[in-house]
Amino acid sequence: MELKVKTVKRVDGFQEALYLPAIFNGLKLTVQHFFRNLLGAKDVVTIQYPEEQRPVSPRWRGRHRLTRREDGFLKCVACYMCETICPAQCIHIDAGDHPDFSIEKYPVVFDIDELRCVFCGLCVEACPKQAIRMDTGVIAMAYSSRKRFDYTRDLLKDTYTPNQRTKYTNIPLPKTEDEALPNSRGIPSS
């Protein structure tokens, strides 16, 4: 088989030997960039991470939260669906009798070991009561001790705050909790 050869023509000559035209062309480009960015960093695409965060899609799985009823009680009925399906076995629930007879049970203990969690979202899918959600938008949890990654029930108990990180996306995000009620994989129903 014959090798294919592409001959690149070498530009020789007085202009190239002078270097100066090429250097001036290069300087033109860099000076343009310099002054454009000097007056307000127009071409810079860097996201300054801790202060500025990348947008996440509404179905993006972040840190868990436990949703609440209108009266403030947890929606969770301690059915153990999430604990059972969790592949990482990071959820621990202890059930207790709910004062309201029609609700039956509530979680006395609801712990999630966020270090073991693989953020697969199966708990959200499994939950029959929309009680556990992963829509907090919290990307990273960083603590200096392992103990603090054990999220207890009261830490997970949370009211809905719409995700603020929408600067770079035009996906409309749900404003209220009702709008945000997900179907099976956390996609807003509207």
């Binding site: 250097i23 300087l27 960039h33 810079v44």
Partner: protein, 360 residues
């Protein structure tokens, strides 16, 4: 009080004071700021943000858009271990950074920063040999790199030192040759004569006889050779991350490393200052002499401002060139010098001589 004024009138005391003011109020701050500016400006050129993280925790995490990195860098190098490698020549290793530092500093000894007020000159000393002194001093700068390379007991450092010495010694030739034309035009090597020569005009008061207009080719040659002499990109073959890491100052750490870095930026300021002095009228502002009623202090102030702005511009230009032009290979550096700059510089001398002969 009279004693104090008497002491201040002694020329030596004045010179020492001028040295302190010029070093600590002008050159060092500018060089220090340039270390940060290099990083910020290169970021702007490359569409990045650049350093902006150093903060003061007690002041609401005040960041000052990265300005605090100067202090952070200084503190860091101050508290770092001053490491001397095993088998290194302790004496040479210890003194090498200060050779480069001193040589870079000594350039400013003969630079006039503004016009004189009465007998008081804004120049440490106006030596008769003038620029020959600069040539001598830049030659001394080679020692810093050579001693660092030889004393480090590291093959990378030795290679870097060898490259640096060969490059600097070669380019000294072109610095000298490129300025021959300037000496011929202004008929002196003394700085004050050259600077005042640039305050004369062609066609009455129309065009100032700036060095860049009388000797345009010499300007390009000198600027190129001076960038090579300070070992900055595109002529930074003495350092090469992929081949010899940091080159001759590879083994340095802590304050000695900082001295090398600072010497580089002081040399950069030195190049700008020399270019302004020799090719852009020094401190003279063109056509300012037409304003005859101007008080001398105001004229000196304006001249100082002009000098500083031009110096700053050429510092910026050097950084801009450094972030625009890719690096020359070492053999290309030498070929550019001996095969291109040398004939052009000699040709420039001959042509200048002819023109002067014809004009007279």
């Amino acid at each position: 009080m009279d004693v104090l004024i008497g002491i201040l009138l002694i020329p030596t005391v004045q010179a020492v004071l001028k040295i302190f003011v010029i070093i600590f109020a002008l050159v060092m701050p500018l060089a220090t700021v340039l270390t940060l500016m290099e990083r910020k400006w290169s970021a702007m050129i490359q569409d990045r943000v650049g350093p902006n993280r150093a903060n003061i925790p007690f002041l609401n995490n005040f960041r000052g858009r990265g300005a605090l990195h100067i202090a952070a860098d200084g503190l860091k190098s101050f508290f770092k271990e001053d490491f001397i490698p095993e088998g290194a020549d302790r004496f040479l290793f210890t003194i090498a950074p200060y050779f480069g530092f001193a040589a870079a500093m000594a350039t400013f000894a003969i630079i006039p920063f503004a016009g004189p007020i009465g007998d008081f000159t804004f120049q440490i000393t106006d030596v008769k040999p003038g620029l020959l002194y600069i040539f001598a001093i830049t030659s001394l700068g080679v020692y810093g790199t050579v001693l660092a390379g030889a004393g480090s007991n590291s093959k990378f450092a030795l290679l870097g030192g060898t490259r640096a010495s060969a490059q600097m010694l070669s380019y000294e030739v072109f610095i000298g040759l490129s300025l021959l034309g300037v000496f011929m035009v202004y008929e002196s090597t003394q700085i004050s004569v050259i600077v005042n020569g640039q305050n004369t005009y062609w066609f009455g008061n129309l065009i100032p006889k700036w060095g860049v207009l009388t000797q345009p080719i010499a300007f390009f040659l000198f600027f190129t050779a001076m960038i090579a002499e300070t070992k900055r990109a595109p002529f930074d073959a003495p350092e090469g991350e992929s081949e010899i890491v940091a080159g001759y100052f590879l083994e340095y750490s802590g304050m000695r490393f900082a001295a090398f870095m600072l010497a580089e930026y002081i040399a950069l300021v030195g190049v700008s200052v020399l270019v302004v002095t020799l090719f852009f009228g020094g401190y003279h502002i063109p056509w300012l002499h037409l304003w005859e009623s101007a008080p001398q202090w105001l004229v000196s102030l304006l001249q100082f401002m002009k000098f500083t702005i031009f110096t700053f511009f050429f510092c910026w230009l050097q950084l801009q060139i450094r972030w625009t032009v890719p690096k020359f290979r070492f053999d290309q550096t030498m070929a550019l010098g001996w095969k291109k700059l040398l004939p052009v510089a000699l040709g420039n001398v001959v042509v200048t001589a002819f023109i002067i002969l014809i004009a007279n």
